[in-house]
Amino acid sequence: MNFDLTADQSLIRDTVKDFADQVVAPGASERDVTGEVPLDIMRQMGDLGFFGIPFPERWGGSGGDTVSYALAVEEIGRVDASLGLGFAAHVSLGCSPLYLYGTDAQRERFLVPAATGQYLAAFGLTEPGAGSDAGGTATRVEETAEGYRITGTKIFITNALHAGYIVATARQPEDQRISSYIVPAGTPGLSVRAEYQKLGMRSSETCEIHLDGVAVPRDLRLGEPGRGFRQFLEILDGGRISIGALSVGVAQASLDAALAYSQARRQFGRELAHFQAIQFKLADMAMEVELARTMVLKAAWLKDQRRDYAKEAAMAKLYASEAAMRASLEAVQIHGGYGYMRDYPVERYMRDAKLLVIGEGTSEIQRLVIARQLVPQ
């Protein structure tokens, strides 16, 4: 048993932490108001190799591991959860399908530029009628002489407007099974809009996608036909580690803010941190941050060991996201009326945290996933 990070893992974490504090943090509150997606920062993250952490150098990656990737997402998420979401969605949902199921030609053409940050990548699974029940995909695909033609609508898709490609799932008519396809940006019939007004995660790009008879050549089907359902379950397992890591970042930020404020603010002649009722809140937050981080890193470690990690990833995502929700609520509470104001960052943490218990599988769905591993079906 060993809970220490390796030298590489700590150096990666320290580098990302430094970047997060120096480059990302200063504009985060402002971007939350304007909803501006920080594309210049994302370009720098690509240049520094952040997007390639879990992929080998052969495919434009940095040759790191899932543990390092989780640490990086946590550090970005700690100062700007919106950017953390864009980062996590790009790597776990956008790049991973190419890495896991792509042919070498597909990886060369799409994964290398995505992993090095030349463009973003998106994963189009959710539809108006298929959310938690993502197998309920209504998007259709037909075979044509040249390849495929895809028609349907995807909603709530992160990063799609600036994506170089979108991985989209669609149902094939002959056997009703789902396959996935790489849809390059600019393909005729593809339209993307980013017009949602969101509660939180306001400077992450959330898009609606219309596929109107989009023609995809034969060599852009991803993996075997009919394997789309299996594929997206596996992608979501990996994605949960990153949403868990993002949640740890938000929970840590909430704790940091609450700790600082409770030692500065005085009422009844004493610092708030002096009151036991406040101390107990801080103690619970600190404990939950620690537990959440440990579980996220365990799931990441299992994945790196090529062991089963689906149950642990679901537990990590569920626990960490709910811990982030509680921690951010308590952080606002500890700030009192000031916490309700935009002058302090904690109300942003609270709004951002709510996405974490919804996206990439709601808390209810995580419990289903865990229970399925416990109770034989």
Binding site: A7, D8, L11, I12, T15, D18, F19, D47, L48, G49, F50, G52, I53, E57, G61, S62, G63, G64, S68
Partner: protein, 265 residues
């Protein structure tokens, strides 16, 4: 160009320092160690010169086991390899700046054809600002410290240097090889890219013992000229004074205090 950068590991400036029982050293347990911030400017400048003129950047450091992490950080920024003179846990604590400079110079002397030696203008631990000048003196090379700007004419083997003075800058020209001490503002140090972090562990870090350099810690310590007699922590900050009451009276009192106590007015 073959450039050596002398790097030192120092406590993170955010670390709360506690004195050891002897009062003449600090407690090293629980300290977060980092690369001396001025050394980052030195490394960045060396990397820029290497990229413009080809050649290699070699880090040279003297320190105990924990220093390897700091060396790897410099390699992750892009330095090509490192020479690490290993400091044994006992003995060398007594060495002074000159002794340490002798160690670094002996390490440099193991190789030939250095074009430049870059250092941070000072290390933020003891703020002595001695290493650069002492190394230059021992090598018998010219030196320029507190460097804000650097132009290299590789063919003529001459350097044009801008140095920071109090409220002014100074331009000097010197021949190569030389020792230069980097000041904040010389450049903006790059972040290590993640592929470079991963590659850093495959780069050569040559370990050298003091004995390999024909030196030993005890005699260097015996020869010291500077002895640290003791450290004192700064006195705790006094409680801030809060003026209450009638604004006109408080303002008058404030002016008085600024005059008498703060002696600003």
């Amino acid at each position: 160009m073959k450039i050596a950068v002398l790097v030192k590991q120092v406590p993170d400036t955010a670390t709360r320092i506690a004195l050891a029982a002897d009062g003449a050293s600090i407690q090293t347990s629980g300290i977060k160690w980092v690369l001396n911030p001025y050394d980052e400017f030195a490394i960045e400048e060396a990397l820029k010169l290497r990229d413009a003129h080809t050649g290699e950047v070699v880090l040279v450091s003297f320190g105990p086991d924990r220093v390897e992490e700091t060396i790897r950080q410099g390699l992750a920024m892009g330095a090509d390899r490192a020479i690490w003179v290993k400091e044994e846990p006992s003995g060398s604590a007594e060495m002074d700046y000159l002794g340490r400079a002798q160690v670094l110079v002996a390490a440099l002397a193991q190789e030939a054809e250095w074009d430049l030696v870059l250092v941070g203008k000072q290390a933020v631990d003891d703020d002595a600002a001695q290493t650069g000048p002492l190394v230059a003196a021992l090598l018998n090379w010219p030196q320029a410290m507190v460097v804000l700007g650097l132009e290299v004419d590789a063919r003529a083997r001459r350097l044009k240097v801008i140095r920071e003075l109090e409220g002014a800058t100074e331009r000097v020209e010197l021949p190569m090889p030389a020792v230069l001490g980097a000041q904040r503002g010389l450049n903006v140090p790059r972040y290590p890219t993640l592929p470079n972090i991963m590659k850093a562990k495959r780069k050569e870090v040559r370990q050298v013992a003091l004995a390999d350099l024909g030196l030993d810690a005890a005699s260097l310590a015996d020869d010291r000229r500077v002895v640290v007699e003791g450290y004192q922590l700064p006195p705790p900050r006094p409680e801030p004074k809060v003026l209450t009451g009638d604004p006109a009276e408080a303002a008058a009192e404030l002016v008085q205090l600024l005059h008498r106590e703060a002696q600003i007015l």
